[in-house]
Amino acid sequence: METFLHQVIAGLATGGIYASVALALVMIYQATHHVNFAQGEIAMFSTYIAWSLIQAGMPYWVAFFLTIVIAFVLGVLVERIIVRPVEQAPVLSVVVVFIGLLVIFNSLAGWIYTYTIKTFPSPFPEKPPFGTHLVSSHEIGAVGVTLVVLALLYSFFRFTPLGLAMRAAAQNPESSRLVGIRVGWMLALGWGLASAIGAIAGMMVAPIVFLDPNMMSGILLYAFAAALVGGIDNPGGAVLGGFIVGVLENVLGAYVIGNDLKLSVALVLIIGVLVIRPSGLFGRVHVTRV
């Protein structure tokens, strides 16, 4: 029972990471209706930037927030310079651009920082919380950070004029222009936000998996599964999906299929959701009358 509980809690902890990457995927999807396969690599690259800042002697939290800002700007620039020109292109071309981005960021990180793995510090205490060894303080902290990001994001979209404009632009670009929304900038802003969230996820995952240019590849797959489980257009669902995927992965890995096949859990989930319930468990079913 103790070990089962341990698997569940450890699953929740990794689920928190999947949740934040899934959140970033959903953000881009909501703003652009594209699934950005390069999301994980942008997150990884941002984490290297944080690492450099910390190496340069910057206190952790200063580096943390500065990295978020840099990642935001990076996301905006990527949208303006690379994605914008293919905005009207067929889906397949866009996918190719995303895969190109993925390779570019991966190679760039390898070239600048080499492929040797690096340790990345955690801002949370080393001592396990509440005297239990079920989870580390870092895992609890990472889940907390994910939930804070979700709350901030929810408030932004729900209660601010800019958040409303971003939702409108994603839904109906033509009507949005007619009320004066600069739709192109809303897309760029969506990319910036998603990159910022990705950077947070990267900085939270790096202390667990260590920092190397491929650290996000498996995570992106799980996050994609999480986003689909939660409903690709539902930020809250994506977060819940992240936790579900994390727990399933751990419990199934420990008791049913073994650790080697864990990644297939993600694939099975992805295919399962796409086949059985494409809108996800919590995806909204829209009612429209014409």
């Binding site: 939702r167 839904q171 009507s175 222009r177 007619l178 009320v179 004066g180 829209h286 009612v287």
Partner: protein, 237 residues
Amino acid sequence: MAALLQVAGLHAAYGLTRVLHGIDFALEEGSITALLGANGAGKTTTLRALCSMVKVEGEVHFDGARIDGRATEDIVRLGIAHVPDGRGTFTHLTTEENLRLGAYVRRDKSSIAQDFERIYGYFPRLKERRHQQAGTLSGGEQQMLAVSRALMLRPKLLLLDEPSFGLAPLIVREIFAIMREINKTEKVSILLVEQNAAMALDLADHAYLIETGRVVLSGTSEDIKKDEAVRRSYLGY
């Protein structure tokens, strides 16, 4: 006095299909002007051209400034609100959010609250439905919402594309009565596109008849109503 909106030699095309072949018309400040014509004549395209939603040639002057070639988002900021063909509702957002978007470019945030009340005064049903997803509203309510969203801009000029389309006559009359009131009391000029010529001519002061991308007739509504050809082809008596 110069017209509020002055259109000269307006051409537009969708790809290689030329749709407008040099449209000229003017709209006096404070007036309601109608563009009439059969389905496919180019009325919607004319409105879209005014807001740079299609590529155009020709000149459009609004309120003393040349606006053709400017971005749609900037034209809105000059005070032109467009209720597009098909209403352009943000169906997944609530009624209230739709209205809030209508005021997106306004800086006088304090008076926006009053404008909500003003709009709900005209259309009490929108107030009842303010937290409802706009896509679930009836056709008539969505048309009211589309007009209201445009009014939230506090525009100088309102472009209305077939507000009567697909609606019961009773609702059309309600909406037209409110348009007249808004024009009188709030001094909003209106450019009305309609296939329903009879209703449009009752509301408008001036009208232009468009056939295959050209203006073929213009005058006061009274004169147009008396025109033999119009009577036979568009009014049906």
